[in-house]
């Protein structure tokens, strides 16, 4: 069996990275192997401190009060928006809309588009790789408005068929909603090609960046997508934070999804005039501390830099695949041309849930099941998988422990048959 213990990697000082995350410093978690990063990531000190400091020292509501505490809170909150704008290279901070997460962002967009852009007979193209959160909202509006929802399938490697996509784009196609990275088999979709195809036919494109934003640089202007969504908690930020990027030219055209205070120009007894900016999509008091935390998470990622993160995560991914391939009879789901650090697999004769429970008791955190990807699992003829997904704080010791415990699971479940 290959050993990775002694491999030296100086490209990212991983020991230092890991120390930034307090969860790994808890004595009981000494041997914690956290490989469930596609679900959610751990939080560095910087994020936790930012949130605590805000509540302890600077807490107030935003956009309303005229006293220094509130003015400072507003400044910090709007700085977070600018920080996120710069992080994904959006043209303006007016293109950055804060949500609870990717799911709310997609629902919000689906509602807004159904309100004044989509109509009966239109078509929306999505892929079989989508998370349920990028399927169900479109199914709902498709049923409501009489829109055709078209699925693009993958080959057995998990790569989407671009030729089919090109064939499916027609005059009725109004939107392509596509994930950047598959949350269960790790395919990195060729979204640049997809967007180019769409733009030639004037079709809007939504990119679900939930699984990419923490692992590769994003430039929404270069991509030329119309919408980009992600969740803060998958990029070392707090839960309950998400972002919907809306290309500026669409901001004015879309109507609000929810209504209330903090989003208006004027309200009279006769009616309401909404704000011109993305503020019109953000009624009510938002998750202020959460977005300050997300901004701190982005600062943290910027400090390390995507060059180092990508190199480290690619090395880890290759090593995991190599180790799993020396572990017969493991079956890895998909073999995409470009892949991320999300790897799904099965051990014949062992149910993923049994493996998940047993690994969990050995402090190995992986996800098991269908990963909110039922249509993909059906397409790939899988009942579920064991999924591991890496982040910048994972290291070679994690891989060794994981492989060791996986062998134990296999032995335990085979022994008594």
């Amino acid at each position: 069996m290959l050993s990775t213990q002694n491999e030296i990697r100086n490209k990212v000082n991983i020991e230092n990275c890991r120390k930034d995350f307090p969860i790994f410093n808890v004595p009981d978690n000494e041997n914690l192997v956290y490989f469930d990063n596609a679900s959610t990531t751990q939080k560095p000190h910087k994020v936790i401190e930012t949130i605590t400091d805000f509540y302890c020292q600077n807490y107030s509501n935003i956009h309303r009060g005229l006293y220094p505490l509130s003015l400072n809170a507003t400044e910090q909150y709007e700085h977070a928006r600018i920080n996120i704008q710069q992080f994904i290279h959006a043209k303006s901070n007016n293109e950055i809309l804060f949500t609870k997460g990717t799911t709310e962002a997609i629902n919000l967009l689906a509602f807004c588009l159904s309100d004044n852009h989509l109509k009966k007979g239109d078509e929306i193209i999505i892929t079989i790789l989508e998370h349920h959160s990028n399927i169900v909202p479109w199914q709902v509006i498709a049923n409501k408005l009489g829109i055709k929802l078209v699925f693009i399938y993958t080959n057995s490697d998990g790569d989407i068929d671009l030729e089919k996509l090109s064939e499916y784009i027609n005059n009725s196609t109004k939107l392509i909603a596509i994930t950047h990275i598959s949350n269960s088999i790790g395919t990195i979709n060729p979204i640049e090609d997809v967007i180019q195809m769409a733009k030639r036919k004037n079709v809007l494109v939504l990119v679900d960046g939930a699984q990419s934003v923490g692992h590769m640089p994003i430039d929404v202007q270069k991509l030329n997508c119309d919408f980009f969504v992600f969740s803060g908690h998958k990029i070392y930020g707090p839960t309950g934070t998400g972002v919907l990027y809306i290309k500026e030219e669409h901001v004015e055209k879309l109507n609000p999804y929810q209504t209330g205070g903090n989003q208006i120009k004027t309200v009279t007894t006769h009616g309401t005039v909404y704000a011109d900016s993305t503020a019109k999509f953000e009624p009510g008091t938002p998750n202020i501390s959460g977005f300050l935390g997300l901004s701190a998470a982005i600062d943290y990622v910027n400090t390390i830099g995507f060059d180092a993160i990508m190199e480290h995560e690619n090395d880890l991914t290759k090593t995991i695949l190599k180790r799993l391939n020396t572990f017969p009879p493991i079956l890895i789901a998909g073999n995409p041309k470009n892949r991320s650090g999300i790897i799904s697999f099965n051990i014949p004769g062992i149910h993923p849930m049994d493996a998940g429970i047993l690994l969990g008791q050995k402090n190995i955190c992986v996800r098991t099941g269908v990963h909110c990807n039922e249509p993909l699992m059906t397409h790939l003829k899988l009942d579920g998988t064991i999924r591991l997904s890496i982040a910048l704080y994972n290291n070679y010791n994690d891989i060794d422990l994981f492989i060791e415990k996986l062998a134990w699971v296999q032995d335990l479940l085979s022994r008594q048959k």
Partner: protein, 135 residues
Amino acid sequence: MTVDEKQKIIEEELLSYDDWDDRISYIIEKGYALPEYPLQFKTNEFLIKECQSKLWIYCECKNEICYFLAHSETVITKGIVALFIELYSNVTPTEILNTPITFLEKSGMLKLFSNRITGINGLIKTMHQYAINAK
């Protein structure tokens, strides 16, 4: 033997293992030992909907005594169901309905299934429903 007496034995057996590995091995062993489940009952009608993994359960009542059969795709679930069947098979519907299942909590095993509590409750509800129907 009453359900309570059987439950006490299972509870003591589980608690007799100091090591978690031994405890889970005991459950896995029970899972593998579960009698074969008849194919004709492996249908949606007998599926526990609340369970994350597929779990089928069938009950037959003869002379006011209940007999359960079950199957799951996961061996750990099968092991837990096997213990439930040990408790609730060969007893009257009244005894089933009057004896709550407590061994998981008392043996500290419930925590292991805290994310699957809906499935366990669904299983208990179904077994109780069979008992109600048999009365």
